[in-house]
């Protein structure tokens, strides 16, 4: 073999190795968290580990459409995860526990399934035992019918109700508000001389006095970001994925007891007064926190803080009451 042949073979081998081995080496050293629509795998990997007080640096990329990333129960701004690009996130955990990270962009009808967990260990701080949510304390059946037996003819006004309520012995405590539905409060006013419309105005003022404008604004933002895609911007049940949930129908039935109740179904029409005014804040808290158990309504308990859920509940009632 001539020297030129030998040198050529060596150079060619180097070029081929350079084209294959070097990129593979860097590829192996560049771990990414891949985001895919849930039908194609969701977050890969979906189980992460971290230490209290040690920054967790994540490099996220989307393999298909626009996704978002956030961690539940934490104060953090959601970040977008763009197709083919890498987004870097650094997280710091102060408490041990199991955190849920989730997609914040409506990436498809199963968007709400796109979640993963971060197991955080270590740290010297002892965690307070979580208290039972109110709907558990009140022993509410989240799946029992709760339609309101009466609905207002026009949107009740808190301002009008405020004047009417001045002379009435009304319990404005937060405990009463959270444990009673607007219809129950309406019924409690049955013995007064007020007309039905006036009683609804008083209920609106009662609800308004337990609804801070800031809470309403926060609840509105949460609703727009997390709920409107199914329940619709105005609560009419006409979000962009509503039709997909209906279409999924029986095909989405899950293999567990009571399967007929476990299929995807049309989102609840929150703008329907019969539905919403028959539910107490505690009941709505429970529905949001636990989710719809296979109906397509996500379980938000691992994502929203308790305050966020109350803010959201307050916003839902504002669809029916005029607070100004």
């Amino acid at each position: 073999m001539k020297r030129s042949e030998l040198v050529s073979r060596i150079l060619i081998t180097m070029a081929v190795l350079g084209a294959i081995a070097v990129p593979i080496l860097f590829w192996v050293r560049t771990p990414l968290i891949h985001a895919r629509v849930p039908e194609d795998g969701g977050w890969i990997p979906d189980a992460l580990r971290a230490q209290v007080g040690v920054p967790l640096r994540l490099r996220l990329t989307s393999d298909d459409v626009l996704h978002g990333f956030s961690v539940g129960q934490m104060r953090m701004e959601a970040v977008d995860v763009l197709p083919g690009s890498v987004t870097e996130v650094s997280l710091m955990f102060e408490q041990p526990g199991t955190y849920t990270f989730y997609c914040t962009r409506q990436c498809g009808p199963n968007h709400w399934r796109m979640r993963g967990t971060i197991e955080v260990t270590g740290g010297s701080t002892t965690q307070d035992a979580p208290s039972a949510p109110l709907y558990v304390s009140l022993d509410l059946d989240l799946d029992a019918p709760h339609d309101s037996a009466a609905v207002p003819g026009e949107k009740p006004s808190a301002a009008r109700g405020e004047q009417l309520a001045a002379s009435l012995p009304i319990d404005r405590s937060i405990d009463y508000y959270r444990s009673h539905s607007p219809y129950q409060a309406f019924a409690d006013l049955e013995d007064t001389s007020l007309t039905a419309a006036q009683r609804w105005d008083v209920v609106a003022s009662l609800w308004g006095s337990n609804t801070a404008p800031e809470a309403l604004a926060r609840g509105g933002d949460l609703y727009a970001q997390n709920c409107a895609a199914c329940h619709g911007e105005t609560g009419a049940g006409d979000g962009v994925f509503a039709d997909d949930l209906v279409a999924a129908g029986e095909a989405s039935a899950q293999a567990m007891a009571g399967a007929h109740d476990m299929t995807m179904q049309a989102p609840v029409i929150l703008a329907d007064p019969a539905t919403t005014l028959g539910a107490s804040p505690a009941l709505l808290q429970g529905k949001i926190l636990r989710g719809g158990m296979g109906t397509g309504m996500p379980m938000w308990g691992s994502i929203f803080t308790e305050d966020q859920i109350w803010d959201l509940v307050a916003y839902i009632y504002s669809l029916h009451f005029s607070y100004h």
Partner: protein
């Protein structure tokens, strides 16, 4: 020869072309890029617009091929294509060394019945049917690139010379067709020198078969005898004959555009290649640039009922409707030759039209997507790298102001060129060129409507 300028008279160019090193260097770089494209397709981001395999194969390489290499250099790309390289090295048992005495592999002759481009027509159509996912899915692109590489290696082990390039490569078929229009050719200088040349090492110095031959090179890898070259269709511009010719009788010439079209083809496989390319440019323009969502869905949802309908329509349009219409307009023409021969001959006039259809169509998506090239250069696998600081460049169509005028110019130019070719063909094949010009005009108007 009239209107020819021998480029190899320039000794510097001739030396560069005769030396194996410059070509080998380019080919090895291409091979490294090709292998990297396969790798990127398999391990890089599945998002096509951020993956080297899609961006560099279907945007950068395609742009260079169809807008520059084919129109100006003919088979210039084939001269540096890396696909046959590993197989050829195995076949020869050498990278640079002259032919050895012992053949490697079986070195069979390619079956006579398949010595045409029907298989290339089929391989192009096969890829064309899946083009929507091929152009967008890095994994699919990597599978196809790998398959082509392994097919070339496998064929080199069984058959002699570059069988894959000559008879199977889905790209090589149309490059050969359009190389007839390019202003460059490899030809002999003096015919008599070839006639009297003993051994004809430019063709037969294939040591793998004969065990004898020139120390300076191999017999034509493309199975072409340079002494008989009248068209550039099957000359791969590999320059092997320039190296092996003991009489310095090989020249690389500059020539007028479309010089080979003066002699119309007689082969139906080449005629159908013309219609395949003409029709697929129109179908692609409709799918990729047209406003018909359901057509796009059908083409993209491979395996669905809609896709089968699309496939049937695609093949029907290209293989039946277009050639059928063309034959129908030739039918009433009086001519000295039978319809089959006139069909083949006049299809030659559609070659420049098809080339310009592809140029016009490619301008659209190349200018639209060119900005992905810089981003992909910095982050070829979509891993968040930023090698050259260009990873975050936003997508931005380029030169949009010149797009419509350039496309119009290309299409109208193609029509005129096609008309001139039809006139020359009619002088040889008989009959009026008017129906063929009318056919070209209607096709051009359809393409203008699709693109603009």
């Amino acid at each position: 020869m009239l209107n020819r300028t021998e480029l190899t008279r320039a000794s510097a160019l001739k030396n560069v072309l005769k030396s194996r090193y410059p070509q080998l260097a380019v080919m090895v770089v291409m091979l490294a890029g090709y292998l990297f494209a396969i790798l990127a397709g398999f391990i890089g981001t599945p998002v096509g617009s951020h993956n080297f395999s899609i961006v560099f194969v279907w945007i950068a390489w395609w742009a260079v091929l169809i807008l520059v290499a084919v129109p100006f250099l003919g088979r210039g790309w084939c001269a540096v294509c890396p696909i046959p390289l590993p197989g050829e090295w195995i076949q020869r048992g050498a990278v640079l060394d002259p032919p050895g005495s012992r053949p490697r592999g079986l070195n069979l002759r390619w079956p006579k019945a398949l010595r045409n481009i029907w298989l290339q027509n089929a391989s192009f159509l096969l890829l064309a049917l899946f083009s929507s996912i091929l152009l967008t899915s890095p994994t699919t692109t990597a599978i196809v690139l790998s398959a082509m590489l392994f097919a070339a290696i496998g064929l080199s082990m069984v058959f002699e010379r570059r069988t894959f390039c000559r008879y199977l490569c889905p790209v090589g078929g149309f490059i050969g067709l359009y190389s007839q229009t390019a202003p460059i050719e490899l030809r002999i200088k003096e015919k008599q020198v070839c006639v009297t040349c003993e051994g004809k090492p430019c063709y037969s110095a294939n040591m793998l078969r004969s065990g004898v031959g020139s120390q300076s090179g191999y017999g034509c890898p493309w199975d072409v005898f340079p002494g008989g070259l009248t068209k550039s269709t099957y000359c791969g511009l590999c320059m092997e004959c320039l190296r092996t010719c003991p009489h310095d009788n090989i020249a690389l010439n500059r020539r007028p555009f479309g010089a080979d079209l003066a002699a119309p083809t007689k082969r139906l496989d080449e005629s159908f290649k013309t219609f395949i390319m003409l029709g697929s440019a129109m179908v692609y323009a409709a799918i990729l640039l047209g406003p018909w969502g359901s057509l796009k869905d059908a083409a993209y949802n491979v395996g669905s009922g809609g896709w089968f309908l699309y496939g049937a329509g695609f093949l029907g349009f290209i293989l039946v409707l277009l050639p059928g219409l063309f034959a129908a307009i030739l039918l009433p023409l009086s001519g000295r030759r039978p319809l089959k021969q006139r069909f083949a001959a006049f299809s030659t006039s559609l070659i420049p039209l098809g080339l310009m259809f592809w140029v016009a169509f490619s301008l659209s998506f190349v200018l639209t997507n060119a900005s992905y090239i810089l981003g992909s250069l910095s982050d070829p696998l979509g891993l968040g790298w930023n090698l050259f600081g260009t990873a975050a460049l936003a997508w931005q169509p380029v030169l949009t102001a010149i797009l419509a005028p350039a496309q119009t110019l290309a299409l109208v130019g193609g029509l005129v060129w096609s008309g001139r070719t039809a006139r020359k063909t009619s002088a040889i094949a008989g009959g009026s060129p008017v129906p063929v010009i009318g056919f070209s005009l209607v096709a051009t108007l359809v393409m203008l409507w699709l693109l603009l």
